[in-house]
């Protein structure tokens, strides 16, 4: 078939006298079936067979089994990619929540089980923070999670409208809150509650007027409701208390150094400059990151076992063929290479299929109003890299034992094998 005769890098390699086995290239889609590779074959009746082409042919030969194996391994890759994208999204959102509105540090109560349980005296703590050298400005926020408009978990922030952090919010409709009976909604929150500027919202029997809709880069904030700090303190019966302080450091000051000063001056608080320090107040992110590692390891082991099973069966069925290859001069190393390349092919194909599906699954969380206010997956190179590393790892893990077994096949015994 003329269509299969592709001009290739290999042709150039031949010209350079570099066409030896180790540098041959061979890829193809329809070429897999016939073992076509990127090989120059003009004027020939036959197709050059490369080592890689032969590997693909071996996989194609048992296409149902190969497909099912790829599918099985893909499931693990999907879980891993989706999880990685979601976890990275949570890290990005956490980092974003620290630095939103020009904030450099977040201050919480020390020794609490989670950031939501932090409780600080508004006036006393603010005064101590402002006294710390290098602190330029301070904002306060009370955070509460409560049912709103039929949504069971709704993040509500109580803020002071005059704080620097409140002024940096980007409004896409209406205005900022002023009175205690006014609320502003994040873009996702407005969508989830189906509210617009001018509508009213009932929270615990009290009516609030929606005066603004805002947008930030932080998914938690976009899915949140904002009201006056005093109003939320009254509503939650926590007068004079806040959850966190946002701290802006003075120009030229390093946030980390200021955080040390804050913690030294006030032993009852922790100051956080980055998401990596968030475990000082909340282990949730750490736990999720560990869960991600566990999912990755589990996916690798399960995927490796699937590849192991498939390749073991494949080697067993091809005992005689492998014996013939050994008899015609193939070294043990070459046989190992062939089996490992086959298992690597399965792993790579599983990654190629699983990675976009994993992104799709992660993206599905943004379509559901219950989850899209908390999760904003990050689609960058990291999940792809993780899936590739795991794909290669499980291929080697699953392919090595069958490859080793294949290399130990005695040609004499294999030739007698039926």
């Amino acid at each position: 078939m003329a269509c299969a005769r592709l001009w290739s890098a290999q042709r150039a390699l031949y010209r350079l006298g570099l066409g030896a086995e180790g540098v041959e290239l061979s890829v193809g889609v329809w070429g897999i079936r016939r073992g076509w590779g990127l090989s120059y074959t003009a004027g020939m009746e036959t197709r050059p067979l490369t080592f890689f082409g032969m590997t693909l042919r071996n996989l194609y030969r048992q296409r149902l089994r190969t497909s099912l194996t790829i599918l099985g391994v893909s499931v693990g890759v999907v879980a891993m990619v989706a999880f990685t994208a979601v976890v990275r999204g949570m890290w990005a959102a956490t980092q974003g929540s620290i630095t939103a509105g020009g904030t450099d540090l977040l201050v919480f109560q020390k020794g609490v089980a989670g950031d939501i349980f932090s409780s600080l005296d508004e006036k006393k703590t603010e005064a101590s923070l402002r006294a710390v050298p290098g602190v330029a400005d301070v904002g306060a926020a009370l955070t509460h999670v409560m049912p709103v408009g039929g949504k069971p978990f709704f993040i509500t922030f109580g803020v002071r409208p005059d704080d620097y952090s409140s002024k940096s919010t980007t409004l896409i409709a209406g205005r900022t809150i002023k009175a205690d009976d006014e609320v502003a909604l994040g873009k996702l929150a407005a969508s989830a509650l189906d509210k617009k500027v001018g509508d009213t919202l009932s929270i615990w029997g009290r009516e609030y007027k929606v005066v603004g809709i805002f947008e930030t880069e932080v998914v938690f904030y976009n899915g949140a409701l904002v009201m006056n700090l005093t109003a939320l303190q009254k509503l939650t019966k926590r007068p004079g208390l806040v959850t966190t302080f946002q701290v802006k450091v003075a120009p030229g000051e390093k946030p980390v150094e200021v955080s040390w000063r804050i913690e030294k001056a006030n032993p009852d608080v922790v100051a956080i400059a980055s998401a990596s320090q968030y475990n000082k107040v909340d282990n949730g992110l750490d736990m999720i990151a560990k869960l991600q590692v566990a999912v990755s390891v589990l996916s690798t082991i399960v995927g490796g076992l699937i590849v192991l099973n498939t390749m073991w069966m494949s080697v067993h069925e091809r005992t005689k063929e492998i014996g013939v290859l050994r008899a015609v001069g193939w070294s043990r190393r070459r046989v190992i290479g062939m089996i490992l390349l086959e298992s690597l092919g399965v792993g790579v194909m599983a990654c190629v299929i699983g990675t976009p599906l994993g992104f799709g699954l992660a993206n599905a969380t943004t379509l559901w109003s219950t989850t899209n206010r908390f999760i904003q997956p990050v689609f960058d190179a990291a999940p792809v890299l993780v899936s590739m590393v795991v794909g290669v790892a499980l291929s080697i893990l699953g392919g090595f034992a069958p490859a080793w077994r294949a290399s130990r096949i005695s040609p004499v015994e294999a030739l007698r094998y039926e």
């Binding site: 066409g19 009746e45 071996n58 063929e321 290859l325 001069g329």
Partner: protein, 229 residues
Amino acid sequence: MSDAKNANGAQAIRAAGLVKRYQNGQITALDGLDLEVRAGEFVAVCGPSGCGKSTLLNLIAGIDRPDAGELAVFGKRAATLTEVETDALRSGVIGLVFQLHNLLPQLTAAENVQVAMMPGERTAAQRAARAEELLTRVGLAHRMNALPPTLSGGERQRVAVARALANSPKLLLADEPTGALDSKTGGQLFELLGEIQRELGMTLLVVTHDEHIAARAGRVVRILDGKVC
């Protein structure tokens, strides 16, 4: 069929007191066998089933090891060769034809021939060209891209011969190459082996239990109970 002009006096195979036992020594396949084959000779090894013919071939090919005795192929002593060297010997110096063709079913005739050349220095295109050349030589120019299941028994064995010749071996070993063929096809294949041996001047050692076919070789060696008789 004379191979006198090919035989150059150099020793291709030298076996002295070759012993091979199986099943923990309960079965003796070769019992002190002595054999010398000159380079360029066409030798047929005959004998009844179980006399040790195939065992001898396997030992010469380096796919099995003797328990005792001396064996040298083109001066290389089997006992001193490493596994890598033995592999190199099989991929460069020795060509093997089995009783059953043992072709890889998923590969075409030409690709089966190419597989034997993969360990060598040739590029994929060079291997394909060589496969074409050899298949044309064995009369299969029209069947190069056929898969083994679509080939007749004789055609498959011709492909196996082409595969064995792929690396221009100095020694071609054939283990009952006509065993699975009818007498006419078997005769043709034997004729082909003889022609190629004469053309290329290689050493040809054929194991057969068919005395009529063996008679076409330059020399016939008979084995009985693991010894040359």
